[in-house]
């Protein structure tokens, strides 16, 4: 556009960039320094440079690998459930049905409720004696589950909670994408004799891709780094720190155990893992872009 307006462009972006530099870039660099030091509660004022010691400790302990595996499962299951539930509901809701607006409004509610409230509420629902989940299991004659004191069950409880609160976002995104698909395409497809499955595979899904790919990338990042849900549902990784994902594990190392250097190194590794994944995923989805 207008070249003379470049100063205006800078004036418009500068405030945002300054804020980001001060509150994001500076701490990011500071995090590097801490990661190579032995800063902890004992060495708070006089941290020493200890080279790669934090990273060596991190990569040689089994914690990283076990927790990483759990994080991958956590992210994979959640995002898969969010996308399939969200797209499925959006496809059903996009038909001309009576009361569509009401379903849409009601199904959006889990997204609207603050995450910590959902997480705390589900923790209550998973309570062994008084929680609604076990009461329902009992009613159907099923055995009660020690949701919060068994490591696997606690992890599953957190996943159930997160699926519940995450699918409306994908549903809204998918609905927006569906509404931009011209109706004629479906009519043409029907005339060509395509059944609903073919229409879904060859019309709906390819045309949804441009809105879904960024949503899946964001969803993956948010889920991978979701501290709230695991921390609150399992009350800080209980039982015995067996239900952690990477971020909650680091959060605990930093703010409960005060191992600042170690936590900073660990944070850095988490960021790099995520970065590699996102770059890889973007490449992959761009490679298939020629389909439409």
């Amino acid at each position: 556009m207008n070249r003379r307006s470049v100063p205006l462009a800078y004036a418009l972006v500068l405030p945002s960039i300054l804020v980001m530099l001060a509150v994001v870039a500076y701490p990011f660099l500071y995090n590097f320094r801490i990661a190579f030091s032995n800063m902890s509660l004992r060495h708070f004022r006089n941290p020493e440079f200890i080279g790669l010691a934090n990273f060596v400790e991190l990569f040689s302990s089994s914690a990283l690998y076990v927790v990483l595996l759990k994080t991958v499962i956590w992210t994979g299951v959640n995002v898969l459930a969010h996308v399939s539930l969200g797209v499925g509901l959006a496809v059903v809701l996009n038909r001309p049905i009576r009361g569509q607006w009401l379903y849409r409004a009601l199904l959006i509610i889990p997204w609207a409720i603050p995450q910590y409230i959902s997480a705390l509420t589900w923790r209550g629902m998973f309570n062994y004696e008084y929680g609604a989940v076990n009461l329902w299991l009992m009613k159907f004659g099923l055995p009660q589950v020690a949701w919060l004191s068994n490591a696997h069950a606690a992890f599953a409880a957190a996943i159930i909670t997160n699926i519940w609160l995450g699918f409306p976002f994908m549903m809204v995104i998918a609905l927006g994408g569906l509404q931009s698909i011209p109706h004629e395409l479906y009519e043409v497809a029907s005339i060509d004799g395509a059944n609903w499955w073919n229409r879904l595979r060859h019309v709906t899904l390819p045309l949804l891709k441009p809105v879904l790919v960024p949503a899946v990338v964001l969803g993956t990042i948010w889920t991978f780094n979701n501290l709230n849900v695991i921390w609150l549902v399992t009350d800080g990784g209980k039982p015995a720190d067996k239900s952690h994902i990477l971020v909650t594990y680091v959060y605990k190392a930093a703010f409960t155990l005060y191992r600042y250097g170690y936590a900073a190194a660990f944070s850095l590794v988490i960021f790099l893992i995520l970065l590699v994944f996102v770059v890889f995923y973007m490449r992959l989805s761009r490679g298939t872009e020629s389909v439409y």
Partner: protein
């Protein structure tokens, strides 16, 4: 709509599925409403009735007048409204520059905004915490505000940019011919047209601050600075005794956001996806 009417059984099936999913989805919400209405003698209830026997609003009275709920509310409102205001102003202006101008640093700024979304919370929180501690600035609502603005900002900038991209440039060119400056064209022509995206940005900035727990837990330790999430978590922690009070509090906190979401339902779809649809 299409001339062929869908058969009755299909419509019935669709409604059946939707009603079932909606019920499962809303169950936890109905449950919390039920718990908040429990009278004091039914705290250890194993009944699955949604509306308890002898329902009362006693817990609402307790949370409003016998707990520091109003103080938490005040703190949360100060933080959330400031974050919304600052967030919208920053995202609306920088999003416009990213959409309309190509300047040195354009690509790298946009990409690094996206990169920051990948930072685990601890990576910024830990250095910020240590810095704030060294300058004795822990326990201040200001510190919290600054952190919140930056968590929502990258997403909001991208949303705004995507939306501006979908507005034809001819509009501004016409405005320039009519004698408006570039800034005038932005403020008077483009900005009013971007209401859906502005609404989303405002909503997300507000939500980010209104419902954040993890950062607040680290930065605020003084009880009189607690925001709603910290206060309510403390109530939920003492599960047996305060469960009904917690439920009442969480209903009060959720109602305004749920109403906002329902009112802005329409904007949600267009504001979030237009940028993506346009590619």
């Amino acid at each position: 709509m299409s001339a062929v009417k869908t058969p009755l059984w299909q419509r019935a099936l669709t409604h059946g599925i939707l009603i079932l999913v909606t019920l499962v989805t809303l169950y936890p919400v109905l449950l919390v409403i039920g718990i908040s209405l429990r009278p004091g003698d039914q705290l250890y209830s194993t009944s699955l009735r949604l509306i308890p026997e002898g329902a009362s609003f006693h817990s609402y009275y307790v949370i409003l007048f016998q707990k520091p709920f109003l103080l938490w509310l005040k703190n949360s409102l100060i933080v959330s409204l400031s974050v919304t205001l600052i967030g919208v102003a920053l995202a609306a202006t920088s999003g416009y520059a990213f959409s309309r101008y190509r300047f040195p640093g354009h690509r790298i700024s946009l990409t690094s905004f996206l990169l920051t979304q990948m930072f685990p919370a601890t990576m910024l929180l830990l250095p910020l915490y240590l810095l704030l501690q060294k300058v004795h600035l822990l326990n201040s609502l200001w510190g919290l505000m600054v952190v919140y603005v930056t968590t929502a900002l990258p997403f909001c900038v991208w949303t705004m940019k995507g939306y501006y991209d979908s507005i034809p440039r001819d509009l501004e060119e016409a405005a320039l011919i009519d004698g408006l400056g570039p800034l005038g064209a932005f403020l008077r022509i483009v900005l009013p047209l971007s209401l859906p995206a502005l609404t989303i940005t405002a909503l997300f900035s507000f939500m980010a601050a209104w419902s954040e727990f993890i950062v607040a837990r680290v930065i605020l330790t003084k009880a009189d600075l607690f925001t709603l999430p910290l206060g309510l978590e403390a109530l939920a922690g003492t599960f047996q005794t305060e469960w009904a009070n917690y439920a009442a509090g969480s209903i009060l906190v959720s109602i305004p956001v749920v109403i906002l979401f329902l009112l802005l339902n329409r904007f949600l779809v267009s504001g979030l996806t237009l940028g993506g649809v346009k590619g």
